[in-house]
């Protein structure tokens, strides 16, 4: 699992599944501005996913385009991290997930921008600016909720506790990849630590670290997500409008 195809596919799947989950908030967010914000972030993730999956398809050379990769693979063939496929939960869970994801994607895309692969470098240079907005947005809400009322603090802490174990998988060593994610852990900790502290939240202890997403071994949540995302394309193959 160390070909450029696997790497582009994994990053593309992270963005695609994150986009699908964030899109579930559309028309359901706590306020209008947040609805627009989450839809915008979903759109950014989808944009990155399209570029990465298109490139993955070209690297594979088997004639699969972005649609074939997004719509015609089963859960065991997806390579996204488990964090992005977890259900949205309440708003605090969504913000905890977004904070961890963006605090990983920002240094990842920044490092990609300087890598030798020209296509990945272009995608990284483009996507990192968008990731910076996502990370700021998530951090703002984590601070506001964590250092808010007793109830918002309780729920934000619960959300961080629940999703923290899934952050470890993001930094699993990947020798030979254009950017080894293991080298990004320092950036992540340097950003997330102070945000949690400022939000009066306790950084969970490191222990249980579920993984398997990069090998196609997912939680039970992914196949339900894919069923919804893929049903139209599978029912009407090749349909356009």
């Amino acid at each position: 699992m160390s070909s450029p195809f696997d790497f582009a596919l994994a990053l593309g799947d992270d963005a695609l599944v994150a986009a699908q989950r964030l899109g579930e908030w559309t028309s359901r967010a706590p306020e209008m501005e947040e609805d627009v914000a989450l839809a915008n972030i979903a759109l950014d993730q989808l944009g990155a996913a399209r570029l990465l999956l298109t490139y993955a398809g070209e690297l594979e050379g088997a004639g699969r385009d972005e649609d074939a990769l997004a719509y015609l693979r089963d859960d065991r063939e997806f390579r996204n991290c488990l964090l992005v496929e977890l259900p949205n939960g309440d708003f605090a869970v969504t913000m905890a997930k977004l904070l961890f994801l963006s605090a990983y994607q920002l240094p990842l895309y920044s490092a990609l921008a300087g890598c030798a692969d020209e296509r990945l470098a272009a995608i990284g240079a483009k996507a990192r600016k968008e990731s910076a907005y996502h990370r700021d947005h998530a951090a703002l809400w984590v601070r506001r909720l964590g250092d808010g009322t007793a109830e918002s603090h309780r729920r934000m802490q619960a959300a961080v506790d629940q999703t923290w174990p899934y952050a470890h998988e993001l930094f699993a060593p990947w020798p030979g990849a254009p950017v080894d994610p293991a080298g990004l852990r320092g950036d992540f900790d340097a950003y997330v630590g102070p945000v949690l502290a400022e939000a009066t939240l306790t950084r969970p202890a490191d222990g249980w670290a579920p993984a398997g997403g990069r090998d196609g071994v997912h939680t039970e949540h992914l196949s339900y997500l894919l069923a919804e995302m893929q049903v139209l394309h599978r029912a009407h193959p090749g349909a356009t409008w």
Partner: protein, 167 residues
């Protein structure tokens, strides 16, 4: 037959219809093969997920066909990445006239709000209300009606307005 560059440069952005794609800085090149007459247009998206790209491609083809260039190819490139620095001075003036506060100086990693480039202490610059000119404004939401805009409000005239956020 109209010059293809001229025809393409006049295509307006479908989401912000007061500004052309040339002024917005997403038109990178227009090349015409002298031998075949085939026109190749190179564009770049503002945001990776910009949903207007398909419409922009179609509008470019339509404009070229009307200008006598039915044989056209529209390519999309991602490098160098677009930033708000690509918006022309004329484009900024048109945005402001349409009630959209133009972007401030860009920053490296894209962390809003914008700060004055080159200063040691990050200094937040005011976004002026495009309607009354007041600097007494506040951000309502970092994300607005399109991927490239944020929602702001003027504390002086109380009007909400869009701000094309620096990227």
């Amino acid at each position: 037959m109209v010059d293809p560059r001229e025809a393409v440069a006049a295509v307006v952005d479908p989401e912000i219809r007061v500004i052309t794609i040339d002024e917005l800085g997403i038109l990178r090149a227009v090349d015409r093969d002298a031998a075949t007459g085939r026109v190749t247009v190179t564009i770049t998206p503002t945001y990776t997920g910009c949903p207007a790209m398909d419409v922009i491609r179609a509008d470019i083809r339509r404009a070229l066909a009307a200008a006598g260039h039915p044989d056209a190819d529209v390519r999309t490139v991602y490098s160098p990445a677009w930033s708000t620095d690509w918006i022309s001075t004329a484009g900024r003036a048109k945005l402001a006239a349409a009630g959209i506060a133009p972007p401030l100086a860009t920053r490296d990693a894209g962390t809003a709000p914008a700060t004055r480039a080159g200063t040691v202490v990050p200094l937040t610059l005011a976004v002026r209300c495009p309607l009354c000119g007041s600097a007494e404004t506040e951000q309502v939401s970092r994300f607005g009606s399109t991927a490239c805009k944020a929602l702001w409000r003027c504390r002086a005239c109380r009007e909400p307005f869009d701000h094309l956020k620096a990227l």
